[in-house]
Amino acid sequence: QNSFTVCFSVGYSAVALNHVIDFKEKKQEIVKPTSPSELFPSLPIVQGTSKRIKVLTRLTLIVSDPSHCNLLRSTSANIRLYDIIAVFPKTEKLFHIACTTLDVDLVCINVTEKLPFYFRRPPVNMAIDRGIYFELLYTPAIKDSTMRRYTISNAISLMQICKGKNIVISSAAERPLELRGPYDVANLGLLFGLSEGEAKAAVSTNCRAAMLHGETRKSACGVVYTVKKPRKVEEEETAVPACKKAKTQA
């Protein structure tokens, strides 16, 4: 819970809680996500604006076998309760399936060991077209030196294929001190081979787009976000007839 208070003070406006499901064990049931209101009585306010922080729930599936993917197609009610669904493919075939046909929002890229497969261009391009984002974790890089090497080499090989598009950088922080502010995470993106604008987007706009993709998936069609704009047009229209009236009277 401390990690959340640090998040809020550092300037994040939305946080996603992750539940990890590993399929190596038998008979894993998809657990209902704990609703955020159970964890905090009142959500603190984002620093700098007057809105409250959004807490989303997220499910990560570690798949090492094609039969595990059937779970996603089943109409289990619990899956619908999660806002964002991510998949962690372990083999090349699964990576291909995840990019092309699976109904997910994020594809996690392993950073803790050397990738057993190379990225190929066709599935990556299809994923970009479908609006799926690739996710990189940065907390192992902070903790350990060998993980740092794997993180950077995997990240750079991903960059070379996808040209820096559709990347999301996130932390798998378990303790509050492993969390870093958004400016710092964008600087880490520079280490991974992103350009400066892409790195900032990886922290801000791409994340928001992944969130909207999750909402689209829930509602089964497109999502349109409307923003309230001050209604200046109406005032002008009402002003004009008054002037006309004045002229006719004078």
Binding site: N2, S9, I45, I142, S145, P176, N187
Partner: protein, 164 residues
Amino acid sequence: MVRFKNRYVLCEVVSEDPRCRQCIEDRALGLAVRDAIARVHGDYGLACCSISFTVKYLNAYTGTVLLRCRKDSYRLLCSALPFVRHLESRAQRYPCCLNTLHVGGTIRTCQKFLIQYNRTQLLRLLQNCTNEEERQCIQKSLLSCSLTEEQSQSGDEEEDDGTE
């Protein structure tokens, strides 16, 4: 025109241990940052960044740090700052992390940013205030923020931030 251009990086030290605040000092922080650069960028990175590297300003109450480096190597410095994990001083290790706030070309721009940032922090403290006297203190210091006398004011008022 021949002039050495510097970049000033404004950071904030975030830690859970309240004793860590008291032993933030410029040498310990400089060593921790250099160590992180050496781990991430190696000997080349350390050599590049330490051409004109100093800790220019340090505020132990709020944990604000201002670092200076050359303009050519500020990216190396900024990308190594997330890897600072602990501060060592007087044979004690305190886990902490550095949060980058602002990068500027002159000390004056960093100071202006720091004033605005402190103002927002004081506003946040005002919301969490329980005591009426503290509330009045904070309101008084908010109203008297200015470029010259901000630093002494924020040093006094942020003490309750350090003890929270």
